[in-house]
């Protein structure tokens, strides 16, 4: 780990100012990903700006929306009664991630910005276009069981590892940002980028721009939302495939509305818009769910070790929606 300076920001403006004073500053939340990557020399900041003193409140508004301070711990969000009742998919996604200890440390802002688990990204002896733009990618022909099947590029096949973000993507979350030019908001699904030719640029954030809050707009039928994670052991492992879903079925048995996102399949949390469009107005049946999943995954491409994810994603999407249509929690 390289030496760095450390400062604790009292508010968002101060944080942005402090970060602006250094060439390679990083915001430090719980540190659960950043400290690990610094030890691996993947991240080499010259300054850490501690943002854990920033607002962490979870505000359940009367209109059904919720505003979550970016400094809130993952545990606090998952334990919040409003989150659990209005957006159970978010609580479940968070609880499916990492361990109790890490969820106590990790912040919402940090979770959104965590970096891929691609083992070639972690290994400084391997080629990686994220670590060294233009170096090449050793994952494409290497161990790529955990890699992307959607939206990958010849430069990068890494996946975004967050569970929480998959639920946020499904639930139309908006992130509140503050930067040198002031504050703005952005849909979470627009925050992360697909790799294209520049996989080292992972988000649309501007330099030193800080996530200050996450907002979940009211979505009454999200009260029945859920999250299903498929992984290599029963707990404490990253997703091979995960699904966040909310389903609104009318009295006539047709899909009135649906929210669907996939994790573990792409460089960003993958909002399944194609499947959603295919489902609206269709009968809420197993056939419809399978067709919608097929439509979403029509362009999916497998590598040597991860092609199974295409079928796995299809099955998991269909089963998750069937569970919601049947009214039982998965």
């Amino acid at each position: 780990m390289r030496a760095f300076s450390y400062a604790r920001a009292e508010d968002a403006s101060a944080a942005v100012r402090l970060a602006g004073a250094s060439a390679r500053a990083r915001y430090l939340g719980g540190g659960t990903n950043l400290v690990d990557l610094m030890r691996e020399t993947v991240e080499q900041p010259d300054a850490l700006v501690d943002v854990t003193a920033l607002p962490a409140a979870i505000e359940a508004r009367s209109d059904g929306s919720i505003l979550i301070g970016a400094g809130a711990s993952n545990t606090a969000v998952a334990a919040d009664l409003a989150v659990r009742t209005r957006f159970p998919a978010l609580a479940r996604a968070i609880l499916a991630g990492a361990s109790g200890q890490i969820r106590n440390m990790a912040t919402v802002g940090g979770n959104i910005l965590q970096r891929t688990r691609c083992t070639y990204f972690y290994d400084d002896a391997s080629r990686c276009n994220k670590r060294a733009p233009g170096a090449g990618c050793d994952a494409i022909d290497g161990f790529n069981r955990i890699h992307a099947i959607l939206g990958a590029s010849p430069a990068c096949v890494a996946t975004h590892p967050s569970d929480m973000c998959v639920a946020l993507a499904a639930l139309d979350a908006t992130v509140h940002l503050q930067g040198h030019g002031g504050s703005r908001t952005m849909r979470l699904v627009d925050l992360h980028r697909l790799p294209g030719g520049r996989p080292h640029v992972e988000t649309e954030l501007q330099r030193d721009e800080l996530i200050t809050a996450v907002e979940l707009p009211a979505l009454p039928f999200a009260a029945g939302s859920t999250y299903r994670k498929v992984r290599d052991r029963a707990s404490y492992a990253f997703a091979l495939v995960s699904v966040a879903a909310a389903l609104d079925v009318g009295p006539d048995g047709t899909v009135r509305d649906v929210r669907l996102a996939l994790g573990g399949v792409a460089h960003k949390p993958w909002r399944a818009s194609i499947a959603e469009a295919a489902l609206r107005g269709r009968p809420a049946t197993a056939d419809s769910f399978r067709d919608a999943a097929d439509a979403e995954l029509a362009d999916a491409a497998g590598l040597r070790h991860n092609a199974f994810k295409i079928d796995l994603a299809r099955r998991t999407v269909a089963a998750t929606l069937e569970g919601l249509a049947g009214g039982d929690r998965t």
Binding site: A125, D232, A234
Partner: protein
């Protein structure tokens, strides 16, 4: 860890094979059937220290003026270092030393396992002596600094360039050039009895199957570590090791110093499983301490453990079984190849189970090795037997299915009456009893037809497989008993990695000496004590027991002499007395005896000290000695995702006398849980393009977590082996054997799918 070889060398040094057969058996140990402290669930003696955070492991010894080491690892698998730029590292804050092959002291290569009974070297490659590179991850520089942070950072500043040479990295390619090893742990690499291929071809029922098993990592939660001090010419190493005295001897050879000038201490080891041997990190730390004249702590990072300390190797196996209509075997073929290096000696003895388990009309058992440019592989919990039973026992399950026989019934029909390949009599074999007890308790009769039981999306199935592991007893160990009026201390340079050694041997000593448990103590973990044997091959319990038994004979003789004719014991011979109630007593005349305190007081002695070496392990030459078990597993497999959850597990074991039911149960369970990892999730990813291990992390190398593990039921026959000390067998390894097959067979029963490549991850079940 030359298991059989060491034993054989020791034995054949004294007697020839014919003489072995003529040598009478040692008398049955009276403690084999006696109930005292032994046979009771005694809590671990080191429990309070461990739960209080007071047990000091190798990286936790406070030392004044300590320096911290960090390693730089090669990034090529084969070739040589061309340039080494250490200037920036040398100039970094806090750096005390940057050691490379250019300035490292001259050291002899380690003596490799089996080259001598006390050789501990995992490989015989020279360590940092020249620019050549032999595996991806080989240490090319060591940085010493005042703090770990400074050392780690400076290590990242060392710049190395390489000239790569052609490297053999592909197992499939290397398999084509596989060759026979000189031996497989002292046993022949090939055993052929009859014409097995012809018998297979002619058999009415046959299966002929291929299996693949991956590399595994021991994954002890304590990373390898050592704290090293030179005190003048004397070397002190606080190590995490399961081979104290072998390390001492081997280090003496490497550094050209006298053994008695080296002291190794290892009172606590945070998990070993075969992996805590002598690797390059201890040797490099000692060299750096010598060069810097400062004490050194080397605590490998988790990545470092994967780069420097080898694990289980990968295998490709074939099992072919030909059966007669009556369910007996006409042919048993188990062959295959394990990846190894040209510089180590660990061929993963996966054909060993087939050598002893079942009767067959003909056998072909043959294993080869394929040379790969990789970190030396090593012994990991039940080397060979763990992955060998996966192949053999799933093949048997397939045969049983083909014959429409219950798999347990099939095993009844192929139960041998003597060792099928050596012809020796079994010392103690109650496998079918273990099966019967296990089947009843597990509810085996409820096993559904394949893919017939479903609960929601979950397919449920049951499987069974045989567990087996040889009985080994290592020669060369000595125990010392120090007896005072207050009690006794038994001393031996043995190891405690969580097996419960200190507890079980205290129980043993209490019963051997006729003292209450609270008045005896077992001291271990220090080469200043009489030499212990390695903690490997599930051998330590009986190896210590035999030495303690021998020392006790010496002690009794001394006590009788001290007691003299004025004692109630006067005139009695050793064979006429027994130890009980804190003294020696006539075996039949219960009133005739004298307490230790009284004997010592009359003799004016504060203590009596007796030391003896264990007799050579003749029992393994005369008998076929093995432990057995039946592993029962119930799984639930998601019909949607292929996820596998183990819902129930029972291990029914036949491992001689159980000394401490509580710690024994824990050890069996621990082996079974590691077996669940082997079955379902564990794989060290070796990138065959570069030879680099790509998941050197406990986040990406998956071991079972709490939620993967159901409550595991363990039962045992508790039938003493008449030919072993205490009637006991070691039990550290057998738990993992058969588990992979039991899980795979249960998955087949649940889903109708056979998976013959480990680990059985969900993608193989979609």
């Amino acid at each position: 860890m030359s298991i059989v070889d060491t034993v054989k060398q020791a034995v054949t040094g004294a007697v020839t094979g014919a003489m072995v057969r003529l040598t009478p058996d040692a008398p049955v140990d009276p403690l084999a059937t006696k109930h005292g402290a032994l046979g009771r669930s005694v809590p671990r003696v080191d429990g309070p220290l461990k739960v209080g955070g007071q047990a000091r492991f190798a990286a936790e010894v406070p030392v004044e003026g300590l320096t911290y080491a960090a390693l730089v690892y090669s990034t090529i698998a084969h070739g040589r270092i061309v340039t080494l730029d250490t200037a920036e590292a040398v100039a970094a804050p806090g750096v005390v030393l940057v050691m490379t092959h250019e300035n490292a002291p001259r050291m002899a290569p380690p003596a490799i396992f089996m080259s001598n009974p006390r050789a501990a070297g995992a490989s015989d490659l020279p360590i940092m002596q020249d620019p050549s590179i032999h595996w991806n991850g080989e240490p090319v520089a060591l940085v010493l600094a005042d703090t770990q942070e400074q050392a780690d950072h400076a290590a990242s500043l060392v710049r190395v360039s390489y000239e790569a040479a052609q490297a053999d990295l592909s197992f499939d390619q290397a398999r084509a050039q596989a060759h026979a090893p000189d031996s497989v742990l002292g046993e022949p690499a090939r055993i052929a009895i009859g014409d097995a291929e012809a018998a297979l071809a002619a058999a009415p029922y046959r299966v002929d199957l291929s299996y693949r098993t991956p590399r595994h990592s021991h994954g002890a939660i304590e990373p390898h570590a050592a704290t090293v001090l030179w005190e003048g010419d004397k070397l002190v190493v606080h190590d995490a090791t399961q081979m104290l005295h072998a390390t001492q001897w081997t280090l003496a050879g490497i550094f050209g110093i006298r053994e008695e000038d080296i002291r190794i201490l290892s009172p606590f080891v945070g998990g070993g499983f075969g992996g805590k041997g002598l690797w390059s990190h201890q040797i490099l730390a000692i060299a750096a301490a010598k060069l810097s004249k400062r004490p050194v702590r080397i605590a490998l990072s988790r990545e470092g453990v994967f780069r420097v300390a080898g694990g289980r190797t990968t295998t490709g196996q074939r099992v072919a079984l030909g059966a007669n209509a009556d369910g007996t075997l006409a042919a048993l073929i188990h062959t295959g190849v394990a990846a190894m290096t040209a510089h180590n000696n660990c061929p993963e003895q996966f054909t060993f189970p087939a050598r002893h388990l079942y009767a067959a009309g003909s056998f072909l058992l043959e294993q080869k090795v394929a040379d790969i440019h990789m970190l030396a592989n090593t012994f990991m919990r039940a080397p060979g037997e763990s992955v060998g039973t996966f192949a053999l026992e799933t093949a048997l399950d397939e045969l049983a299915e083909a014959m429409a026989l219950d798999p347990i019934e099939l095993r009844r029909r192929i139960e041998p009456d003597k060792d099928p390949t050596s012809g020796r009599a079994f010392s103690s074999r109650h496998l079918l009893e273990a099966y019967a007890k296990g089947a009843e308790r597990f509810g085996w009769s409820q096993r559904p037809a394949p893919r017939s039981r479903r609960e929601g999306e979950w397919l449920v199935g049951m499987g069974v497989a045989t567990a087996t592991y040889p009985y080994y007893r290592m020669p060369g160990g000595s125990a010392r008993i120090r007896l005072t009026a207050e009690g006794a201390v038994v001393q031996m340079g043995s190891h405690e990695m969580g097996m419960g050694t200190a507890t079980a041997q205290a129980q043993h000593a209490a019963d051997r000496l006729g003292l209450p448990l609270e008045r005896v103590r077992f001291e271990y973990g220090d080469t200043d004590l009489p030499p212990g044997t390695i903690a490997g091959g599930s051998s330590q319990t009986v190896s210590i027991a035999a030495a303690l038994l021998a020392a006790h004979e010496v002690l009794v003789a001394q006590l009788l002499k001290l007691a003299g004719n004025d004692s109630p014991l006067g005139g009695l011979k050793a064979a006429e007395v027994e130890a009980r109630d804190g003294g020696l007593h006539h075996k039949e005349d219960t009133g005739r005896g004298e307490s230790y305190a009284s004997i010592l007081a009359r003799a004016g002695r504060a203590e009596v000290v007796a030391q003896a070496e264990a007799p050579r392990p003749m029992e393994v030459m005369k008998h076929s000695m093995h432990s057995y078990g039946a592993q029962f597993c119930e799984v639930r497999v998601s019909a949607v995702t292929g996820e596998v959850r183990v819902s129930r597990f029972l291990g029914s074991f036949d491992c001689g006398r159980i000394l401490n039911p509580q710690t024994a149960r824990s050890q069996f369970r621990g082996g079974i849980i590691m077996g669940l990892g082997l079955a379902l999730m564990e794989e060290t990813e070796f990138d065959e393009r570069t030879g680099r291990i790509m998941n050197p992390s406990l986040a990406e190398y998956h071991v079972p977590v709490h939620l993967d593990v159901p409550e595991i039921d363990v039962i045992w026959t508790d039938i003493p082996d008449p030919h072993s000390p205490l009637g006991a067998h070691g039990i550290g390894e057998i738990g993992i054997t058969g588990v992979g097959a039991a899980v795979a067979n249960a998955i087949h029963n649940a889903t109708g799918r056979r998976v013959r490549e480990l680990p059985i991850t969900l993608d193989k079940l979609l």
